[in-house]
């Protein structure tokens, strides 16, 4: 039987039988989000315009995200225990909890999932944002839009009240404080993983071993509390299982990020961003659907690279963009339309290897050490140094430092990163104030002038350098 969302789900990689199978779930979730027949023409048009749906890998990624949305929204109705974690967070603990808890447990980052689905696909985040703003996270105060989305989605009943939340108290004050706010409203327990970003400027990747010990101890505390609150025991073997499960996905993602470096850039950053963020936001569909989707995409991208096909001109300036937009693909397209190969993101170049002389006492300390070595959670210097390393390794022509204005650990580098990267590498940096999670205030048109001017500067610089050679 034909339903009004057949075309959309077809575009998003679903087979007819699967749409039929998921019908009840889809309609329940659509009702919660207030998506109906009137939204379909607009949404189908958006998907056709904003996503490279000729690529099966892209369709599979859209499918994985949509299934994750259904799983998230219906988790409680489907009798699952629900654990939310904050974004960003050290990779590992969420996956380990999921690996230990199995099918009866939903573990994910709801706000990032809502951005990539309700925002990216349906462009319907505004009611959630407004509900979040009315629920204690008002506009105009630089409060995190991810937290507004989570808060609003809870208030509107789009996502279930969790059994447990955990957040990165080591990195972000806002996430933990918003967890506290939601605890006041809904009463669910919050487990804060504490830490301190107290390394001095210039110290990276090393750090005081006490930092690793402390963060490792806090990760252990999380696992103890998970057992206490939801009866799921996370131990060394579930952590190892999580690493094994995620290895395939991360291996494919590694290939994809390097394929993006081809000249001309083979696909839009929108697709690669969707792939990378699936691994960060989901512990369910990222593991069941993710590896195949990314593998398929890699195959298609490789084919394009071999044929010399791309979505920007060959020789276009190669740009490192801090992160692709979570909910508005138009912003990444605008950068690409300006003639920039927005090929690399912050995570394209993996962090360096662990110092072999370090003694780590348990797997939590290993997670802590790996997290700190990634730079973002280490220090502002560590974060900036990762950019410098990436610029050098990938032969980047320019950096789009799109700093999340309402995320303090990022915003505090608004000017510093530009100064530091330019001084260290000589590569031009555009410090661009942005909201990566929603685009009401920082939309395509407000950013266009700056990005287009920057693109012209990079093109002129590249042309001069080419002539000089």
């Amino acid at each position: 039987m034909t339903v009004y969302y057949d075309e959309l789900f077809g575009l998003c990689g679903f087979q007819d039988k699967e749409i039929e199978k998921e019908k009840v779930r889809i309609e329940k979730v659509f009702e919660k989000i207030d998506i109906g027949p009137d939204d379909m023409d607009r949404t189908v048009k958006r998907v056709n315009e904003q996503f490279d749906i000729q690529l099966l890998g892209v369709r599979k990624l859209l499918r994985a995200w949509l299934l994750e949305l259904l799983d998230l929204s219906l988790a409680k109705e489907e009798k699952k225990k629900v654990v939310y974690y904050g974004y960003p967070s050290i990779q590992g603990p969420g996956m380990a909890i999921k690996a230990a808890g199995g099918e009866g447990l939903y573990v994910g980052c709801p706000d990032a999932i809502l951005c990539h689905t309700v925002g990216m696909i349906f462009d319907k985040l505004t009611p959630m944002l407004e509900a979040g703003e009315n629920g204690g996270l008002p506009p105009g105060h630089g409060l995190c839009s991810l937290q507004q989305i989570r808060s609003g989605a809870l208030a509107l009943g789009i996502i279930p009240v969790p059994d447990l939340v955990t957040g990165s108290s080591y990195y972000c004050d806002m996430g933990s404080k918003a967890d506290e706010l939601l605890h006041e409203i809904y009463g669910h327990p919050s487990i804060y993983i504490d830490g301190s970003m107290d390394s001095k400027w210039g110290e990276f990747p090393s750090c005081d071993p006490e930092r690793i010990k402390f963060l490792g101890q806090q990760i252990n505390k999380l696992f103890d509390k998970v057992k206490e609150h939801i009866g799921v025991e996370v131990n060394g073997s579930s952590l190892k299982k999580a690493i094994q499960i995620s290895r395939e996905l991360f291996s494919e993602l590694g290939q994809l990020t390097y394929l993006m470096m081809a000249d001309p850039m083979p696909i839009s950053g929108v697709a690669s961003g969707m792939a990378i963020n699936l691994a960060a936001a989901s512990t369910g569909r990222s593991m069941t659907e993710g590896p195949d989707a990314v593998k398929t995409l890699c195959g298609e991208v490789r084919e394009r690279v071999n044929k010399g096909l791309g979505i920007v001109e060959k020789g276009a300036p190669r740009v490192l963009n801090f992160a692709q937009h979570f909910s508005d693909p138009g912003i990444t397209h605008m950068m690409e339309d300006a003639g920039l190969a927005v090929a690399a993101s912050f995570v394209t170049v993996p962090p360096g290897k662990r110092d072999p002389s370090l003694t780590l006492n348990n797997i939590s300390e290993e997670l802590a050490e790996a997290g700190l070595r990634a730079g973002v959670y280490h220090s502002t210097y560590g974060f900036a140094k990762r950019f410098v390393d990436a610029v050098r390794e990938l032969k980047i022509d320019g950096v789009l430092w799109g700093y999340q204005y309402n995320c303090r650990p990022i915003a505090l580098g608004s000017h510093l990163f530009k100064q530091f990267i330019e001084e260290e590498t000589g590569v031009p940096v555009l410090s661009l104030e942005i909201d990566l999670y929603e685009s009401r205030s920082y939309g395509v048109e407000t950013l266009r002038t700056k990005v287009e001017t920057f693109a012209e500067i990079l093109k002129a610089k590249k042309a001069t350098e080419t002539q000089g050679n």
Binding site: H141, S169, K177, A178, S196, D198, W201, K221
Partner: protein, 380 residues
């Protein structure tokens, strides 16, 4: 008050006196407010602690925009402006700046100054929860600071020297506490402006001078002839009350309110607890400065502070609460949403939220809000 005049004169001469002390070989150690730096360590090392607590200056906030975006807490942007201006008498004479990393706003200042100046900055972490492991981490941080101070001054911080400094600082805390508690009475003998001036002064003045001054103030305030104040009794709370950020105090006073107690994470020296004199002094410092003190809103959860506010409301027989919020300090902003309900439920009182970005144009609207609030609670 005569003591306030004496303090003003002392503070006016303080930068010159510090320059003189520096020439004579003493080290000047600046630190960020928040109450997480044990001044005892600096004193025991023979150095001079100086709190970097100037605020309320919109020109410095404006200057900071050359170094950081506006989404950082107003006070810390002001500090960035002061640190970068080359005009601040204290930043200019520092041998060391100590930056207890409490939240990302403090980290922003530390990072910007580290990158853009030659200041020697020592950071140590202040965790956000009170647990044995977090206390150990804090203790590890102040132990690192102790080593740094010993290297800077070439003086060993012995237990005896540390205990002596603890005694002096405990006396200062005790006196501030006693003076503050006088305001529990119906007959309030000291204005908030004067109490804040004393508290602020304690962050900059010579420690012995300050203790002697507080002794005389306490004695004077107990005299039966002292003039007492009137007006609806206000609890003023918030993240930061800096030296020079007097607009909110002036407005509340001018509109007829009487602040009888203040609770701030930064800018009001914590005086409710003393450092224990027995046992290992470093452990005692960690207990007092980290575990025992009332936590700021950037602790998780912030319940302890909100419980304490309710206690203060009851103990000081408060008529209304004014929450003074600096822009973009997200921990405080978030709590300001749900605390009024709790306040109303548990005490029947109302709360007024005033926000500032150190912009002089705020005076008009702030005054109107305060006047209306004070009039309303005055009719209670």
């Amino acid at each position: 008050m005569e003591a306030i005049d004496q303090l003003s004169v002392h503070l006016e001469k303080r930068p010159d006196n510090l320059i003189k002390a520096k020439k004579e070989g003493q080290k000047i150690v600046g630190y960020l407010p928040g109450g997480f730096l044990p001044e005892e360590l600096v004193l025991a090392a023979g150095a001079v602690p100086v709190c970097l607590l100037r605020g309320g200056d919109s020109s410095m906030v404006q200057l900071s925009s050359q170094y950081i975006c506006r989404w950082i807490d107003t006070f810390y942007r002001c500090q960035i402006g002061l640190g970068m201006s080359g005009k601040d008498p204290y930043y200019n004479i520092l041998d060391l700046m100590v930056s207890p990393i409490t939240d990302n706003h403090a980290r922003a200042l530390s990072d910007v100054l580290s990158y853009n100046t030659d200041l020697d900055i020592f950071s140590f972490g202040v965790p956000h929860m009170k647990e044995p492991a977090t206390r150990d981490y804090y203790l590890h941080g102040i132990t690192g600071l102790k080593n740094k101070l010993e290297a800077l001054t070439d003086n060993r911080i012995t237990d005896d020297k540390l205990r002596e400094a603890i005694r002096l600082c405990n006396r200062e805390r005790e006196l501030l506490r006693k003076i503050s508690l006088l305001r529990k009475s119906e007959q309030v003998p000291i204005s908030c402006a004067d109490f804040v001036a004393l508290n602020h002064g304690s962050y900059l003045a010579d420690k012995t001078f300050m203790v002697n001054l507080l002794e005389s103030v306490y004695d004077d305030l107990q005299a039966p002839t002292v003039e007492t104040l009137k007006g609806p009794r206000i609890l003023l709370t918030g993240s930061t009350l800096a030296i020079g950020d007097s607009l909110v105090l002036d407005i509340i006073e001018e509109t007829g309110g009487m602040i009888v107690i203040e609770e701030f994470a930064e800018g009001i020296r914590p005086y409710w607890e003393d450092v224990k004199s027995e046992g290992d002094p470093m452990e005692a410092l960690a207990d007092c400065y980290f575990m025992d003190r009332i936590c700021p809103a950037w602790f998780r959860p912030g319940t302890e502070r909100l419980d304490f506010l309710i206690k203060l409301v009851n103990d000081f027989n408060v008529d209304g609460v004014i929450w003074y919020q600096l822009m973009f300090r997200e921990s405080y902003k978030t709590e300001s949403y749900y605390f009024p309900d709790r306040l109303k439920r548990e005490t029947g009182l109302r709360m007024l939220l005033l926000e500032s970005d150190y912009n002089p144009s705020e005076a008009g609207p702030m005054s109107t809000c305060a006047e209306t609030f004070i009039q309303t609670i005055g009719e209670r």
